[in-house]
């Protein structure tokens, strides 16, 4: 018997199923019954569960309680910007005038939606210093793909077919090389210098007539503002290349600088990071693409345009003249865009700037409080996140993974581990602006305590976590013999 009966999560839906139970009552058919098609195409094997409504609610509620989340736990996952997700944003997105409108209903019946999108395009262009914005891409990597396809289309439009190389720093997120490859580019690695900036000498060597461009994350995944960034853009432009900006870390720069001013040609934003829309356990996100005037004709379709007349502006969807094409079925992740719009309206100019300021302050506060006991590979002011290392704990038999897992026992989500790849035993901590000082102090104290444990009882740390619903899982077994769905036992 399971503890708590059917509220225990030990049984899967198909194991809970009892013939005859139903979770909904459907309305009766109110039109005359119509002839069915040939019985040969009708199905008789639909294996879905039969459970009642209370059972569904109990099961999923119990499941939810097995998660850490921002609402329940500090979640300092580096490069993921796990900030507070305002509830008003969700409420607005669920208004019937937003949630229950059809993507293909005529523009005169969706002017409110189009106006919101048009204004959001303007806000994002203003924040990034870019002139063109397309909201059509559905996640960060989706925006990257659109952005690098635009770079390809731009070079091709110049008759320049020989630019086949995309240079990407060794510290980059994996989506960068994957997106470049999906856009047909050969990826070449750009090393970082001793300060964590792009190695300018290496960049010079790569900057030839076959260089399509570079993909730069700013601040970098080391949590550092690249002090060479203006020079990087200049070198690439001089060689005829373009500079792509991965906006995953824009939370550090809101209102502090504009990527367009620095020399970036095209960037994407992660609205589900910087602009507070919820991650939902892995999505949905939105990855709008913002670009300089030279690349505007290539933006993904559709974009929202306005035309003035006596009765005020009217808004419509349009396709840029040399567009790379449609990236998704409709016009983007509208529900996410509504949330981001609401967030920007709530903050205004002053609020936007206080986001980056407090995010960077919180990260530096943590760095300062821990750098005496955790190795800090780049000892300079960090941006919104700090990359520490468990290199000093390693000789005691405690790895970065162990430290991260032990944090779970203290009620904190783990930092990002083993990334960026160029830092051994990396622990990448991003506190965000929405955590108070008390939580930061408690987190710092937990990491100091774990360091003491790594001396006194390394074996205990090595086997952490000890208090979570499950302990460390057999990932090798899962990959060797994949069990990817429930099957009836024979």
């Amino acid at each position: 018997m399971l503890k708590g009966g059917s509220r225990d999560t030990g049984m899967l839906l198909m194991e809970r199923s009892v013939p005859g139970r139903a979770g909904v009552v459907t309305p009766p058919l109110d039109v005359p019954e119509q002839p069915l098609p040939d019985a040969a195409i009708l199905r008789d094997d639909l294996a879905l569960p039969e459970v009642s409504e209370p059972e569904v609610v109990q099961y999923f509620t119990a499941l939810s309680q097995q998660n850490f989340s921002i609402d329940t736990h500090f979640y300092p996952l580096g490069s993921c910007t796990m900030k507070y997700n305002p509830k008003i944003n969700d409420e607005i997105a669920f208004l019937p005038g937003f949630a229950a409108i059809h993507p293909l209903q005529p523009p005169d019946q969706s002017q409110g939606a189009l106006e919101l999108l048009h204004t959001l395009q303007e806000y994002l262009g203003e924040i990034t210093g870019m002139s063109g914005v397309s909201l059509a891409t559905l996640a960060g990597a989706h925006g990257e793909l659109a952005g690098v396809l635009m770079m390809r289309a731009y070079h091709h439009a110049q008759g320049d077919l020989g630019r086949t190389k995309m240079a990407i720093p060794d510290s980059a997120h994996g989506t960068n090389p994957a997106s470049a490859a999906m856009a047909g580019f050969d990826v070449v690695t750009l090393p970082s210098d001793k300060d964590g900036n792009v190695d300018l000498e290496a960049l010079h060597e790569l900057s030839g007539p076959d260089l399509a461009g570079v993909m730069i994350t700013l601040p970098s995944t080391l949590g550092l503002f690249d002090q060479n960034i203006v020079e990087v853009c200049r070198i690439v432009h001089e060689a005829g290349g373009l500079v792509y900006g991965d906006g995953a870390n824009m939370n550090a720069l809101l209102g502090r600088t504009k990527l367009g001013d620095l020399g970036f040609d095209v960037i994407h934003l992660n609205l589900h990071k910087t602009f507070s829309t919820p991650h939902g356990g892995g999505g949905p996100g939105a990855g709008p693409v913002c670009c300089a005037p030279t690349l505007e004709p290539f933006l993904a379709a559709p974009i929202v345009t306005s035309s003035g007349n006596g009765a005020g502006p009217s808004y419509s969807l349009s396709t840029p003249e040399q567009s790379i094409g449609k990236m998704s079925g409709y016009h983007g992740n509208f529900g996410v865009l509504v949330r981001a719009y609401t967030y920007i309206r709530t903050l205004g100019d002053a609020g936007i700037k206080s986001i980056s300021g407090n995010a960077v302050l919180n990260a530096n506060y943590i760095m300062q409080a821990l750098k005496d006991i955790y190795y800090l590979p780049y000892d300079r002011t960090c941006m919104h996140e700090v990359v520490l290392s468990a290199d000093w704990q390693r000789p005691r038999g405690v790895s970065g993974l162990d430290v991260a897992k032990r944090l779970l026992d203290y009620g904190f989500h783990a930092p990002t581990m083993y990334f960026p790849l160029i830092v051994h035993e990396a622990l990448m901590i991003e506190p965000t602006e929405s955590e108070n000082r008390y939580t930061l102090d408690a987190f710092i104290e937990a990491l100091r305590q774990i360091n003491r444990e790594s001396e006194d009882d390394p074996d205990m740390v090595h086997h952490a976590p000890h208090t979570t619903p499950v302990s460390r899982l057999d990932e090798a077994g899962a990959a060797r013999h994949p069990d990817l769905r429930w099957r009836p036992s024979v």
């Binding site: 459907t26 993921c80 969700d90 990597a141 504009k258 609020g351």
Partner: protein, 450 residues
């Protein structure tokens, strides 16, 4: 109120606390933290509106929302890939729980078993619904799922020609072209009644029910594709799979679909949910995340992300896709929906759609001036009507009666190419949300033209 001292209610630390924290760093102002930004580019003017209170936000956005016609405000017959279905209250109630809503991708399995087990359930239900061996954790939407399915078929077969039936959604075809543009893949649109497949074809791509609602013979397509060593890729509708044999029944190799009908609001086109399934033998070429069941160090069942070496964070430029963030929250929504609907409920919804659509079609066909030239074979919940007047004009008149009509397929991209007997074609969709009264109102509205 001056914005200089504006303190957002999303930021807890007060100015005093901020000063104390700065002091630990030997600093006095936050601005000093940004000294790495070159002076000439630091603190640019930012032209954004003043901050609003929550009360003001509610007013302003309710105003914008009211400028849109919501589907529930009158009879609506628009489909074409985005469908108005009933969503039980528990879907929103459960999916908006903070523990689900505000969690990240489940990289730490010990504290993410909720999300992981939900995805395992999702994979179980979707593979079952489509009659396929393996489902992944989801893609962005139906269109990108299909495009990734085509790229995967090219990898599996090591071929670069793709045959797409002319009854596949024009929007899905556009997205597939976008995704394939840099890979030298030759996409050919073939006639659905005699699709051309050769020995160098990677895959035949069809839609079931097709974009125009029709049900073509998937068995024939499978035989044709497999006879040439090509894969059959099918984009399908999960609601239809509640009553019809799913594509897996006909040996399809990759089956994708739009998950929006499974408890997700139409929301002006997103966020939706890409469904993606395939035969087990192709699993290492699959894009996106997979969750597997395993055991913990004490032998208890648990769930983890698995086969991650396919993915971008490990294989980088050689990954099966660049996808990272997907639509996990809506995979949750669809899992709750399918759990609630269950075996009987989903079948009943599919049958309601079927009978109501066929009732509407028979009533419209009986009107003078209207015909159903496209529906020679069986169809599900959508059908094309050849109208006596341009569809845009008819839709305007219908809207005067507060009826949202069908999709005008005489405009691009739907009109490319359009058979001559559909030069006034309108694609209508009828679901369980349309009462007999709604349908009769539509028929009465249409009867004005003849």
């Amino acid at each position: 109120m001056t914005t200089a001292h504006f303190q957002s209610h999303y930021i807890p630390n007060t100015e005093l606390e901020q000063s104390e924290m700065l002091a630990t760093l030997g600093l006095t102002t936050i601005d000093q933290l940004f000294h790495d930004i070159p002076d000439e580019f630091r603190n640019p003017a930012l032209n954004l509106p003043e901050p609003l209170s929550e009360l003001e936000i509610q007013r302003e956005l309710a105003g914008l929302a009211s400028k849109n016609r919501a589907l529930g405000s009158g009879p609506s017959f628009l489909g074409a890939g985005s469908y108005h279905h009933f969503i039980p209250a528990i879907v929103k109630a459960l999916m908006t729980r903070g523990e689900f809503l505000t969690a990240y991708t489940p990289y730490q399995p010990e504290v993410s078993q909720g999300t992981l087990q939900v995805i395992y359930e999702f994979q179980t239900l979707i593979s079952s619904l489509f009659g396929m061996e393996v489902a992944n954790a989801g893609m962005y939407d139906g269109a990108t799922s299909l495009a990734e399915g085509v790229l995967m078929a090219c990898r599996v077969t090591n071929r670069e020609r793709v045959a797409v039936s002319d009854t596949v959604s024009p929007a899905y075809l556009q997205v597939t072209r976008t995704y394939c543009q840099a890979h030298g893949i030759d996409i050919e649109v073939v006639r659905h009644w005699e699709p051309k497949v050769g020995d160098d074809t990677a895959c035949l791509v069809v839609q079931y029910p097709n974009f125009y609602g029709g049900l073509e013979d998937l068995g024939d397509f499978a035989q044709l594709a497999h006879g040439h060593g090509a894969l059959l890729v099918v984009s399908t509708d999960p609601t239809a799979c509640g009553m019809l044999n799913p594509p897996g029944h006909y040996s399809a190799d990759i089956v994708t679909g739009e998950g929006q009908p499974l408890g997700i609001p139409t929301s002006y086109g997103g966020p939706y949910l890409g469904l993606f399934t395939c035969k087990e033998q192709y699993i290492r070429q699959m894009p996106s995340r997979l969750v597997g069941r395993t055991v913990d160090s004490q032998g208890r069942n648990g769930y983890v992300l698995t086969l991650q070496t396919r993915e971008q964070h490990i294989r980088r430029e050689r990954a099966t896709s660049n996808i990272c963030t997907n639509e996990a929250l809506y995979a949750l929504a669809s899992t709750i929906y399918l759990a609630a609907m269950g075996r009987q409920g989903l079948k009943q919804v599919a049958e309601l759609c079927y009978h109501k659509a066929h009732y509407a079609a028979s009533q419209i066909e009986a009107l003078p001036g209207y015909s159903l030239p496209f529906q020679r074979g069986p169809f599900f919940q959508e059908f094309v009507v050849q109208c006596p007047a341009p569809p845009a004009e008819i839709n305007r008149k219908l809207m005067e009666r507060n009826i949202l009509g069908g999709l005008d397929i005489t405009v691009p991209p739907y009109s490319d190419p359009l058979p001559p007997d559909l030069d006034k074609g309108m694609l209508l969709c009828v679901t369980e949300m349309n009462s007999k009264q709604d349908i009769d109102a539509l028929v009465a509205g249409l009867a004005e033209f003849n």
